[in-house]
Amino acid sequence: MKRLLNLTLGVMTAIGGFVDIGNLVTSGITGARFGMSLAWALLLGTAGMTLYGEMAGRVTAVSRRPIFHVVRERLGVRTAMVNLVASLLLNVLTLAAEIGGVGLALALASSINYILWVPIIGFLVWFFIWKVPFAVIERVFGLLGLALMVFVVALFHLHTHWHALASGIVNPVVPSGEGHPTWWFYAISLIGAALVPYQVFFFSSGGIEEKWSVEHLGEMRANALIGFPLGGLLSLAIMAAAVPVLQPRSIGVNHLGEVGLPVIAALGKVGLIIMLLGFFAATFAAAVESAMSSGYITAQYLGWSWGKQVRPSQAPRFHVVCLITVLLGTAFMLTTVDPVKVTLVSVVLGAAAIPLTFFPILVVANDRRLMGKHANGRIVNALGFAFFVVIVAVSVATLPLLFITKAGQ
């Protein structure tokens, strides 16, 4: 019974943990602007995250070591350093976006400008890393994040043309009046929102914090294979709900508030309050996770002790890196940059950086000296390689598209 409870908890936290400000913003924008014509990108990104999340979890559970050790061993000090620096910068950017997201959610709840919330949120993020046990953070916020299911409910209350939605997914057409580069830019943003690097590091390091071993492979698989796809479904619901409400009125999503309009239209005040709770939980959890991820990967690259299983005085350098990340992220948000823009840029750059992490995972999952009978099978390898080719292509296309479309304008 306890095992089953753990399993459910794990799956649900994976759902809640998957959705963050990146998913909220990109799903909302694309649904309002492109209908369901980019749903394929969301599905592709989710499939890739599920595939590589499972692989990373398996490597972690079998070798009992987190992914960034593997990154340094297999890529060598220099390439791993490039990955480390890129991931650290991305973590700061992502953290800033998430802090902005929490601020926007609180602003929507209180009508107090988000910027005033930013320092308070920054402090709270650090406090949670400093004092609150890992399992509590993961579970409480993962579960609260499920409040976003309200978008699924809203979808059923709205006059959804299911048939049109489905055909939009199956036959994607670039809407008239939209340029192809812009369409592709947003496709990458959706893939990137599903494949944020910190999620891989956090999933794997979190497995070590929860003392995964070979016996936990089932639990880990359930988390990855059920949790991530359901999280993707949630993003899809946010996108789909925007289609009947925002697209006909040609409302563009420039603020988090507009993402929530479909829920208000469908469910009124109650739906709104539940949704705000979901916004808050999803973005706050992601803020904590992205800041901790900086501590994790730095410590794992340099061989420091890390994690929340040990007291801060036993892993002081880990905590200092987390603290610096939080300070930088908070300071960046305080410059009054637009959180929605920061989110878009961070998910797109994330998509560009992810191959450096996925590549060693794919290689190590094939090392039978390490993995024994848990090494990748043929099907996983075929899918893994195909997806790897896709993300390399994405990574090459990202920067040109970012500049051509001026971040999707």
Binding site: R74, L75, G76, V363, V364, N376, N381, F385
Partner: protein, 119 residues
């Protein structure tokens, strides 16, 4: 002598032909005993030439056999890595190492006889 001083050196054979850079070393535990009575590791050979990345990733070993087609590509680059016994080193003057044999007399990393004894 630190390993970092050896790695990256250009190796030139007896005929003056460049063989590429050192990217790894082979260690054999047959040196003098340490305080615990175990044989110390001796730097037995240099691994030189292309395929440093593939070697590091683990593709020089049979146990890493996927995914297609990465495995076969990496295998091929590893065939171009040569093993140079340390005893053949004539002059070590960073960043160049001169050896006393010719390229044709060296074995490829892929053919080194210790590749399959530790699965």
């Amino acid at each position: 002598m630190r390993l970092v001083e050896v790695i990256g050196c250009a190796v030139v054979d007896a005929g003056g032909q460049s063989l590429g850079e050192v990217h790894d070393v082979r260690l054999v535990a047959d040196g003098p005993r340490d305080a615990n009575g175990r044989s110390r590791y001796r730097l037995d050979a240099l691994v030189v030439g292309a395929g440093g990345m593939a070697h590091k990733l683990g593709y020089s070993h049979d146990a890493v056999s996927g995914p297609w087609p990465l495995a076969s590509i990496f295998r091929r680059t590893i065939r171009r890595s040569l093993v140079v016994p340390w005893s053949e080193v004539e002059a070590f003057d960073r960043p160049t190492i001169r050896i006393g044999v010719r390229k044709a007399d060296l074995t490829s990393l892929a053919d080194a006889d210790d590749r399959r004894d530790d699965t």
